[in-house]
């Protein structure tokens, strides 16, 4: 088997389950503790919510356990098994989910993540999960011990049918891989000693998902207890063996319904503990492990290796280039049949491109859903109270783009919690609710996706940013205020920080600059709006996809260049604007707006601006990035096209405004001008 491939699949899938686990834990944390099920009376709605979250948690943990078993990842297996066992008892109502236990599950979730990443990175041996497994089991063993005590004092309730011989109760080690098969080995060992007259659960059930490694058998033999125990332990992975003489067996420990604090008022506690078959407990147990809860929704999706999608995209890009060549050649032949065939092929290629691009689009929740945990942890670390809201999680973005924007978003989230949202006391003093509100939203605006992060915190201190900007010599001494875009420009300077303290999370002065440059590199724009005392909003405007962009093709000195349309606002003839020189720099006056004028010819290092070219025939492309605008003079406009972006290795010394190129109809490449780096 191609283990690397399966490892990747395991990793991708397990990460999804980790997200689900964290979401469920956070949801549980938000449900008022008083209405947790085992605590007795609670309102139905939050009981239902608790139930749903516990079910989701259980399902995710169970799936991870199953996958790790198949892959042979022991640490992942034993951790998930311990978590699952704990959750099973919660579902059966045997144990309440208190704060302490939630914290334990959060820790376990972190350890599980480490174990999963470690296992997939083939460093599993380096990871020790025993202490956590013991902590998870710690609660289990208490309950089991109580169950055993109960069994000892309760003469009734045999799990095994009455008969001759001794009842042998066996518990396998937690995390045992394929417990059913192991149990059958134990049963086989028992058969070497004498006749096994009964096994509970039966051997079929042992192979089922719900089997937790606890079983009992009735053995007729002459061997003494120690010999029986020794023989069965020799099967391996046996944690405990208990031999009970006489007709009375013990109930299966896990089936015993035990309220952890022995609370007599717990639901169903009135059921006589001596009732022989204990139908209610068995039913609850079955329901807790029941197959219904484990049923995943029907799969509508398949996983595809991103490289395959990239390959498809590259092929479609080639097709589009060939399409251009075909169309060009066809015009030479003036053959209507050829034209028709070309235009039909052209339409299909266009549709194919849309379909392949669509295949690369993923909803933003695939990344956003990791954030509630990030926010929770950051808020806890900083002693803040934060209510986190996600909006527009179904909005789609190119997969690779979404991945690249995840880190910047994490940074902005932490930044907002650290610097934006005040301490609960300060908020109350300012007449705000104690809990800060942090909203992350995605929306589609024209051919862009806008991701906004809004907090209702203290806002940017303009005075402090202004003072800092003056100290760094970024603005004139006489300035009295800063505009929003100036604030962003100032705080986006590498090494700039107004944070008084360096917290664990942010304030080291690195970050906003990295966020801005990352977003810019993706062809996007960052925008900041802030009102002191009311909060701050960061907006990230991103192209929907990186692979294909609409662009304006322009020529200068016989060379073609592509200008991404996201930054082009309009084009006009140079002769229609008034060109002036202000302080030695050329500007163009358009509709009473004065814009700096740049010549593409200069940008690309071509000599002789006016030689042999009629300047009045030149065009001006108005470009804008964030709040900055300029006019760019080109010789000729060729037209607007959807271009396929091809990266190339950065060449030493080459102008940094070119990072990609597109291939034209004639097979030559045209450089794509990154407008942002000009302004």
């Amino acid at each position: 088997m191609d283990s690397a491939r399966y490892r990747d699949l395991f990793l991708t899938e397990a990460r999804d389950h980790l997200v689900a686990i964290n979401q469920a834990l956070i949801a549980l944390e938000h449900i008022p503790r008083a209405s947790q099920p085992a605590a007795g009376a609670g309102d139905g709605a939050s009981d239902g919510a608790t139930r749903a979250s516990v079910d989701a948690l259980f399902r995710a943990v169970h799936t991870v356990k199953g996958m790790s078993g198949v892959m042979g990842y022991v640490a992942v297996g034993s951790l998930s098994h311990a978590m699952e066992t704990l959750l099973a008892r919660v579902r059966a109502g045997e144990e309440a989910l208190d704060g302490e236990q939630l914290a334990l599950l959060f820790d376990a979730s972190d350890a599980l993540e480490a174990a999963i990443e470690g296992a997939a990175g083939a460093q599993e041996s380096a990871l020790d999960v025993t202490s956590l497994v013991e902590r998870l089991q710690g609660r289990a063993s208490v309950v089991r011990a109580m169950a055993a005590d109960l069994a000892a004092v309760a003469p009734g309730g045999p799990a095994l049918p009455a008969g001759d011989g001794v009842a042998v109760h066996v518990v396998l080690e937690p995390g045992t891989i394929l417990p059913g098969a192991r149990a059958q080995l134990v049963v086989a060992r028992a058969r070497t000693l004498g006749a096994v007259t009964a096994v509970v659960p039966d051997e079929g059930a042992m192979l089922g998902d719900e089997f937790d490694g606890t079983f009992a058998l009735r053995l007729v033999c002459d061997a003494d207890d120690a010999a029986i125990e020794g023989a069965l332990r020799a099967a391996g992975f046996v944690q405990g063996v208990r031999v009970v003489h006489g007709a009375a067996g013990a109930p299966r420990p896990a089936a015993g319904r035990v309220a952890p604090d022995g609370d007599a008022d717990a639901p169903d506690a009135a059921v006589p503990r001596t009732a022989a078959p204990r139908p209610d407990a068995e039913a609850r147990f079955a329901a807790a492990w029941g197959s219904e809860a484990l049923k995943a929704p029907l799969q509508r999706y398949v996983r595809i290796d991103l490289r395959r999608l990239d390959q498809l995209m590259a092929l479609v890009g080639e097709l589009m280039i060939v399409r251009g060549r075909l169309a060009q050649r066809a015009t030479l032949h003036a053959d209507p049949a050829l034209d028709e065939a070309v235009s039909e092929a052209s339409r299909f290629i266009g549709e194919l491109q849309d379909a392949v691009l669509g295949g690369r689009m993923v909803p933003v929740w695939q990344v956003f859903d990791r954030f509630p945990r990030v926010v929770r942890d950051a808020a806890r670390t900083l002693g803040k109270d934060v209510e986190f809201v996600i909006e527009g999680r179904e909005i789609e973005l190119d997969r690779s783009l979404l991945e690249q924007v995840a880190d910047p978003l994490v940074h902005l989230l932490r930044n907002a919690i650290d610097h934006g949202i005040e301490d609960p006391d300060a908020r109350l003093a300012a007449g705000k609710p104690a809990a800060g509100r942090l909203t992350l939203s995605a929306s589609r605006e024209r051919n862009a996706v806008v991701i906004r992060l809004r907090d209702d915190g203290r806002g940017v201190s303009r005075a402090r940013v202004l003072a800092k900007a003056k100290a760094l010599g970024l603005v004139d001494e006489e300035r009295e205020s800063l505009e929003d875009e100036e604030i962003l420009r100032v705080i986006a300077r590498a090494g700039f920080s107004t944070a008084e303290r360096v917290t664990e999370l942010s304030g080291r002065g690195v970050g906003i600059d990295a966020v801005v440059s990352r977003v810019r590199a993706l062809g996007g724009v960052v925008d900041l709006r802030s009102a002191e005392g009311e909060g701050t909003t960061f907006s990230l405007r991103l192209p929907v996809t990186l692979a294909v962009i609409p662009a304006l093709l322009a020529r200068v000195g016989g060379e073609s260049y592509a200008l991404p349309l996201t930054h082009v606002t309009e084009t006009l003839q140079l002769s229609r604007g008034v060109v002036r020189t202000v302080r030695g720099r050329e500007v163009i006056v358009i509709r009473e707006e004065v814009l700096p004028l740049l010549h593409l010819r200069d940008v690309v290092g071509l000599p002789g601006r006016d030689a042999g070219h009629d300047a009045s025939a030149s065009h001006v492309v108005l470009v804008e990035m964030a709040e900055r605008r300029a006019g760019l003079v080109v010789d000729q406009l060729v037209g607007q096209e959807e271009i396929v972006v091809k990266p190339f290795d950065a060449v030493r010394g080459a102008a940094s405004c070119f990072n990609g190129a597109t291939i034209m109809g004639d097979g030559s490449a045209a450089l794509i001008l990154e407008v942002g780096s000009l302004l």
Partner: protein, 142 residues
Amino acid sequence: MSQGASQPHVIVEGAGTLFAIEQGAVREVVPARALTRLPGASAAVRGLLNVRGTLVTVVDLATRFARGTSAGEELSVVIVVTQSRTLGLLVNDVIDVQAYSADDFVPTGLEPPDPALRGMGHFDGRIVLSVDLQELARQTFA
């Protein structure tokens, strides 16, 4: 041929100068079609070539090593891969394949020595310059 493990080299000619390129690095030889100039790059970088959809940076060997310029109607680009970077070498012609070992090349008389040249050897009575592709790529890319 002298002692030592000899390796086949592709002998190419650019503006009258001969160069030896390790054959193991050569992927293919394609005709030099329209090259897209890269503003700001050194004169030896002639631009980008579209090789079936992949953009390859093309260096003119004659400009880089012999102060000449490969010119003419039918130029070729030798596509080489070194340390997973792809580089195109613009030449006038591909002449032959010849085996050389390291000690077939002696240091050039260049002062200071050019680290992208392994040395010079001879081919058919002419001087041939052995190109260190790894170093050439390192110098070309940022």
